[in-house]
């Protein structure tokens, strides 16, 4: 979940509630769903919250929500904007991997150090969330006075910058935190930040680049140039965003504009003009930021049904307004409906249910009286689950200690340590799977579903049988009293192209007897007792299996079908698991008892 660091003094100042002490602020924040996690060295609150209200990623946004909660503000607020002076041209050299741009100018700021830090934090947090680590949207903030707009040939006074592409070793600029002129490719290899974001442009012929009349000044989404670096002396800012989706960067821009408006800045629009041939948006002309209010209709009945209470229309309008929304009641197709105005920073409102949720929060969900739904249904266990429980009861009754092991394991444990040959991994052409690969014709020997990016080298595949896990428990418990007669009814799987998912999943009964004198006969007597209990016929014709001693190994045949294996475990396997006592074991498909 995202966290945001918020200076309590800034909160008091921005909400206009100098009287609130830290404790009260923490309570009010909790009521908003912002959980206090601790404090930074500078005494800022560290707040954690669910990633829906991304407009609360800055102290300015949190303060706005608090003012609604306090009742200081009601309804929708939209900052005023001035007409555009600047234009962003997008030309046909723009990389197709990152075709979109947006922007705004903010004037008349007087940012102190904390306010500047808050802006930087908002930028980072937006990158981490909506921006998907800058892949989907990346923000650049520049000191406007350092930009020089081209003066076009005609009489227009508009100034402009150009979003385009640059050869990796083309034009150079001095990136932030550096003194050297670098080409974009050099930034990726020689600059610490370049290194971090190099993956985002890897393999592209042209890298995203922004130019003004002087030249290249920004290399999104990697790094800005030093020339336009923002400081506490900056009064006017140029905010641009590039990305893979216009809506996403426009919303990120909106959230930044609201935050800077709260700091006393005057928002000024910017034109975005996509040239012909500039990719999917070619020919489009936009004016940004787009601060238009969205309208959605919500039926009164739907609100009452969802909350389970009767509500007065005026109260509902009040709840909407206290949530920073506008609402007007009218008669719609489904009785009373509300036309609800949603401010542009609300990126979380996709459907009217999201607005009902706001009403619920304003009403207070914990004010609702729980009631047990008057709905009658008949409960029951899944057949396989009943079978599993019955088989486990029987196993426990005949003296097995029940185990519960992981379904994930590594290949060596699953195959080699049980003397079973590891099937070769497919080379990715999908041609393998069923049988006849080395090792796949023995029980437990099939190809395992393999994890792409394993977290740990101990858990790289789904086990193909359960006996390896049982052997591991024996290995880890040699200091404990014997007999150790262990069993597990557990999940395993193997690659099987006849299945829709290409994976056959099953539950098997795996059991091992480990004590002085443990023999084939011991194992068979228990297996016999188990199979008898389910009214099935057991036969054990001799077979070979690399885990077991030759001549003391049999197929488990239940009602005429070969479903598993039983035998005395081979000394190699026993010694491999550091055991000093004989082990007799069996494993077979649980389904055979059905």
């Amino acid at each position: 979940m995202p966290t945001v660091e918020v200076d309590p003094d800034a909160l008091r100042q921005l909400t206009g509630h100098a009287d609130k002490d830290d404790e009260q602020l923490r309570e009010d924040l909790f009521a908003l769903g912002l959980e206090y996690e601790g404090e930074t060295e500078d005494g800022e609150f560290e707040l954690e919250f669910a990633p829906d209200r991304l407009d609360r990623l800055s102290v300015e946004g949190v303060a706005r929500s608090l003012r609604y909660q306090y009742g200081d503000d009601r309804g929708v607020y939209v900052p005023s904007t001035n007409d555009p002076e600047w234009t962003i041209h997008v030309d046909s050299d723009v990389p197709e991997e990152r075709p979109y741009v947006t922007g705004a100018v903010i004037r008349g700021l007087d940012l102190d150090e904390p306010a500047l830090e808050s802006l930087i934090q908002l930028q980072e947090k937006l990158h981490a969330t909506m921006g998907r680590q800058r892949a989907k949207g990346a923000i650049g903030v520049h000191d406007l006075t350092m930009l020089k707009g081209e003066v076009p040939n005609d009489e227009e006074t508009t100034k402009s910058i150009t979003y385009t592409g640059v050869e990796p070793d083309g034009d150079t600029f001095v990136p932030l935190d550096s003194n050297a002129e670098m080409a974009p490719a050099d930034v990726l290899t020689d600059h610490p930040i370049g290194d971090t974001y190099a993956d985002l442009v890897a393999g592209q012929d042209r890298y995203p680049a922004i130019y003004d009349e002087i030249g290249l000044f920004s290399f999104p989404p990697v790094i800005n140039g030093r020339r336009t670096e923002v400081s506490t002396d900056s009064r006017d800012l140029f905010v641009e965003m590039t990305g893979t989706d216009q809506w996403t960067i426009d919303k990120m821009l909106t959230i930044v504009c609201y935050a800077l408006d709260a700091r006393g800045g005057q928002v000024e629009e910017v034109r975005v003009e996509y040239d012909d041939g500039s990719g999917p948006a070619a020919g489009r002309e936009l004016v940004r930021p787009d601060l238009a209010t969205k309208r959605k209709r919500v039926a009164h009945d739907d609100i009452e049904t969802m909350l389970g209470v009767d509500l007065d229309e005026r109260d509902v309008v009040d709840y909407f307004e206290r949530s920073g929304l506008d609402a007007e009641a009218d008669d719609g197709d489904d009785g009373t409906e509300y036309a609800v105005g949603v401010p542009p920073y609300r990126v979380d409102v996709l459907h009217p249910v999201d607005l009902i949720d706001d009403v619920g929060r304003a009403y207070g969900f914990n004010e609702l009286e729980p009631r047990y739904p008057d709905v009658s249904t008949v409960g029951g266990r899944h057949e396989r689950s009943r079978l599993e429980a019955a088989a486990r009861d029987t196993l426990v009754g005949i003296g097995f200690e029940d185990l519960l092991n992981f379904h994930l394991i590594d290949e060596e444990q699953n195959y080699e340590r049980l003397n079973v040959e590891r099937p070769e991994r497919s080379s990715g052409d999908g041609a393998n799977g069923d049988s006849r690969e080395p090792g796949t014709d023995v029980f437990g020997g099939g190809a395992a579903p393999t994890i792409e990016q394993p977290y740990s080298e101990d858990f790289t595949i789904v086990r193909t049988w359960a006996l390896p896990s049982v052997m591991m428990v024996l290995e880890n418990n040699t200091h404990r009293a014997y007999p150790q007669d262990l069993a597990e009814i557990g999940f395993s799987a193997h690659v099987d192209e006849s299945e829709n998912t290409n994976v056959a999943e099953r539950r098997t009964v795996a059991a091992a007897l480990c004590h002085a004198g443990a023999s084939y006969e011991d194992a068979k007597s228990r297996l016999q007792a188990l199979v008898d209990a389910f009214g099935k016929d057991l036969e054990t014709p001799p077979t070979e299996h690399p885990t077991f001693i030759s001549g003391r190994t049999a197929s488990v045949e239940i009602d005429g079908e070969t479903v598993g294996v039983i035998g005395e475990v081979h000394p190699e396997v026993i010694v491999e698991h550091d055991l000093e006592l004989p082990v007799a074991a069996f494993e077979f498909d649980l389904e055979a008892l059905r």
Partner: protein, 503 residues
């Protein structure tokens, strides 16, 4: 007549004319007194012996009293010292008298209080005067102690004994003395001759079928001795907890779901209205499979409906995500990150055909997270997943259902914290008061499925759902502190063998 040998010995040691104490009988019969007593009662039941009981009370000296017999009572030492310092004529400073008497520690207090009680003189303003009329050599209590020490039975008046008892110098105890005499039948039996019955260790099938068991004596066992403990078959504690939760849910009308562990991302995420570029869907968090890579087939209509919900949203005022949506990505296989994939398969009709409301379903099956292992997190865990499908469900119904469920596990006082979840709205984190510590702790996640999830699945009523980790409930209920000690191959068999049974 055949009798067990202990009874024979007691019978032979008893007399018809003289009451003999059990101690004496035991001595003669070479039995320990307990065995002799038991044999005597058994013989009384058979009418061969009469047992009489007499209670006698005894007075014995305590350790403290034994010491005073040697050194004199402290108050007498005080009196003698006072007289020797002339306190019988003129008051003497207390400290001097105590010094002269050689008293210290608790003995000083004992001396002072009893000196006053027996009126050997007065103590006032730190000075002692001794009553010249008194005689320390004829103290009643001292005399009684001496007599008791000498073993004299002719003890003193009860009043004095009581005083001594109050001072903790004597203890009174009662003992029961049993004596036996032969009855007429006993004499007759002896005259007719009595044989000793043989003793047996193990009750055998032969003894039972021949009726011989009637004439044998069973040798005594040391029934208090420790016995070797068996290694019983036991169900795994976490498994037992799962069964308990299943029972509870079945009792509440829930039906169980099962389904694939390895599944297409479509069922795991797309059907749940999780955008394809959601951070939880990147390959670092999820268990994407390298082999096999993708599901063969997905229901076409459903795919189209789900894609449309992602792109356009549902309903006249709905809107979709501004995220890419790609069929290949949806078909990619992974170990399911939650068992909500089962809910999606059931709600869509894929698992068991179209469902008509009302329905309640649950599963307690494994989910997989490619994440750090620690005391409370495993790579695989059992997710309790449940949902209710009905017309017009409200947040109150959700609260009522979960309040009822958690009460079954002793967790009351539930709070619902509004939360965010891509596939439910409203969404709530559930907090409950820990039955032991009283803390409010997170016990699950819940919500009402969004229209963008339900509409493509073809569900046109409401569905509320919740989930939590079985391991979390287990740790709460049992106080287990490290889940790695419970679930997996690192388990200690000693733990499985000794963990208390829950029910």
């Amino acid at each position: 007549m055949k009798l067990p040998d202990a009874q024979v010995a007691v019978l032979e040691a008893a007399s018809a004319n003289e009451e003999r104490t059990i101690d004496r009988i035991a001595g003669e019969a070479d039995l320990d007194p307990t065995a002799a007593t038991r044999a005597a009662f058994e013989l009384e039941e058979e009418g061969l012996l009469a047992v009489t009981e007499r209670t006698s009370s005894e007075v014995s000296l305590t350790e403290e009293a034994e010491e005073y017999v040697e050194t004199d009572l402290p108050e007498l030492r005080l009196y003698r010292a006072a007289v020797s310092l002339g306190a019988d004529e003129e008051a003497v400073e207390l400290g001097r008298v105590i010094g002269e008497a050689g008293l210290d520690g608790p003995a000083v207090d004992i001396a002072l209080s009893n000196f006053a009680r027996k009126a050997y003189g007065e103590i006032d303003s730190g000075e002692v005067t001794a009553d010249p009329e008194k005689n320390a050599d004829s103290d009643d209590e001292a005399a009684a102690l001496d007599a008791l020490a000498a073993g004299s039975a002719a003890y003193q008046s009860d009043v004095i004994i009581e005083d001594l008892e109050n001072r903790g110098l004597v203890e009174r105890s009662e003992t029961t003395v049993r004596s036996v005499t032969l009855t007429e039948n006993g004499v007759t039996a002896l005259m007719e001759g009595i044989e000793t019955a043989e003793t047996v260790g193990q009750l055998t099938s032969e003894l039972l079928t021949s009726g011989e068991w009637r004439d044998v004596e069973f040798s005594e066992y040391n029934v208090e001795a420790d016995a070797e403990e068996p290694t019983p078959g036991r169900q795994h504690p976490l498994r037992r907890m799962a069964e308990q939760v299943k029972d509870t849910l079945v009792g509440m009308g829930f039906q169980e779901m099962q389904g694939p562990h390895v599944d297409a991302d479509f069922w795991i995420n797309d059907c749940l209205f999780m955008p394809q570029d959601h951070p939880a869907r990147n390959h670092w968090d999820r268990f994407a499979l390298e082999e096999p890579g993708a599901i063969d087939e997905l229901p076409e209509d459903l795919v189209a409906a789900v894609e449309s919900a992602h792109r356009e949203g549902v309903g006249p005022d709905g809107e979709g995500y501004h995220s890419p949506w790609d069929l290949d990505f949806a078909k990619a296989l992974a170990l399911r990150g939650h068992t909500t994939s089962l809910s999606a398969r059931h709600l869509s009709g894929e698992a068991m055909g179209e469902l008509e409301p009302p329905q309640r379903f649950f599963s307690i099956e494994k989910a997989y997270r490619n994440d750090t292992l620690d005391a409370t997190h495993l790579l695989e865990f059992f997710q309790i997943e449940g949902w209710v499908m009905a017309e017009d469900l409200s947040v109150r119904d959700l609260m009522g259902t979960f309040t009822e469920f958690y009460e079954q596990f002793g967790i009351t006082d539930i709070e619902f914290k509004p939360h965010y979840n891509p596939y439910t709205e409203p969404s709530f984190e559930l907090f409950g008061r820990h039955p032991e510590t009283g803390e409010m702790i997170e016990i699950g996640n819940s919500g009402i499925f969004r229209p963008e999830m339900l509409e493509p699945l073809g569900v046109d009523c409401d569905v509320m759902a919740w989930g939590l980790a079985l391991e979390r409930l287990f740790m709460l209920a049992t106080g287990a502190e490290d889940i790695r000690d419970v679930h997996g191959t690192l388990v200690d068999l000693e733990y499985l063998r000794s963990e208390e049974v829950t029910y």
